[in-house]
């Protein structure tokens, strides 16, 4: 019961719909940046290596290489500062957290390509399997 009330308490600050993306996807995250009274958007593109938490507190970590230096940014999924999350490329992963990418450079950081959601679904699973649907993880 108390969980329900917590959900109700955060209802106004949670986003109505969150773009679908999963671990291993290459995403472009559009972040709203307010400078004084001017506002602009900056896109941070990289690989999603983790999704953590639930409800309004859910966050995801995006990793990319800038000037030969690994850069990771943690974004709250429901932050109003995040204008858009666009999936550039999907990948097939066998881990929920891709922290092993931190120890790799160059070619070793490539992930298996996944063209469609079918490829991500484990073999033999029924078509209606919703385990890979991010929306269900709340």
């Amino acid at each position: 019961m108390s969980d329900e009330l917590l959900k109700k308490a955060t209802e106004s600050t949670r986003k109505k719909s969150v773009p679908e993306f999963s671990i291993g996807d290459t995403v472009g995250v559009a972040v709203r940046i307010v400078e004084g009274d001017k506002e602009r958007q900056q896109v941070f593109t990289g690989t999603v290596i983790a999704r953590k938490g639930a409800g309004v507190s859910e966050t995801f970590t995006v990793r990319r290489i800038v000037n030969n230096e690994g850069v990771e940014r943690v974004f709250p999924v429901h932050s109003p500062r995040i204008a858009d999350i666009r999936v550039v490329r999907s990948a097939k992963t066998r881990r929920a957290k891709l922290y092993y990418l931190r120890d790799r450079v160059g070619k070793a950081t490539r992930l298996k390509h996944a063209d469609s959601k079918k490829a991500r679904r484990p073999a033999g699973a029924p078509a209606g399997d919703e385990r890979t649907e991010p929306a269900e993880r709340e």
């Binding site: 108390s2 009330l5 917590l6 109700k8 308490a9 106004s12 409800g55 309004v56 932050s79 500062r81």
Partner: protein, 219 residues
């Protein structure tokens, strides 16, 4: 308006404000609270208001409880608390009236009075913030102990008494605890919820009193 209301701690979560800043908040389901009795200087010697929270099942309430609640024309309540008033209660506070979270509308800061979580038999480091003993440099077996508690002749005469009130290990927690000036982030009238910034004493499900802050400076 009532100076405070009773509620139940639901748990903690986070909310964004209008500036997109994320705040840690404790959700308290507060009210509806009923005014059970209004005390005044003439009959009771002081001014106060007694409020009740949550109906008690009839078979679990005793006759004195039912009688006391009957004087306000309501069912017996599980929780009763008295709040002192600086001046006689106004016309808007009358026995039998019910208030919800709207009693705290417009309030910027609140104080929370609750009962802290039980910590059991706790040592001096946890209970009183002592420094303990060194982890190395030849320390043996005593790393978290208190050290000396008194000298050989601490009370002038030989034999030495330990001073009364010397802080030692013992039971910790389950104390009435007040935390002050929490910012009141939001009020959800529909579900009777208060969003209070920061942690609040007590376990989930515990009854806490939320009152307009007495000490917060008005900016």
């Amino acid at each position: 308006m009532l100076p405070g209301i009773l509620g139940k701690k639901i748990g903690m979560t986070q909310v964004y404000d209008e500036n997109d800043v994320l705040h840690p908040v404790t959700v308290v389901q507060a009210g509806p609270c009923t005014v059970m009795q209004v005390k005044n200087t003439d009959t009771d010697g002081y001014d106060a208001v007694q409020i009740g929270f949550e109906d008690c099942k009839p078979h679990r309430s005793r006759k004195p409880q039912i009688g006391h609640a009957g004087r306000a024309g309501v069912r017996a309540k599980k929780h009763l608390r008295e709040i002192r008033l600086p001046e006689p209660a106004g016309e808007d506070i009358r026995a039998g009236e019910t208030y919800g979270v709207e009693a705290l509308e417009g309030v910027e800061y609140v104080d929370i009075i609750g009962v802290s979580k039980g910590k059991g038999f706790a040592g001096v480091m946890k209970r009183h913030g002592f420094s303990g003993q060194p982890a190395s440099h030849g320390a043996e077996k005593t790393h978290r102990s208190a050290g000396s508690i008194a000298g050989h002749a601490s009370n002038a005469g030989l034999g030495g008494d330990i001073k009364k009130g010397k802080r030692m290990a013992g039971h910790m927690g389950v104390d009435r605890t007040t935390t002050r000036h929490h910012k009141l982030i939001g009020i959800d009238k529909e579900n009777n919820l208060l969003l209070i910034k920061g942690p609040v004493p007590g376990a989930k499900g515990q009854v806490v009193m939320v009152r307009k802050s007495k000490t917060a400076r008005i900016r």
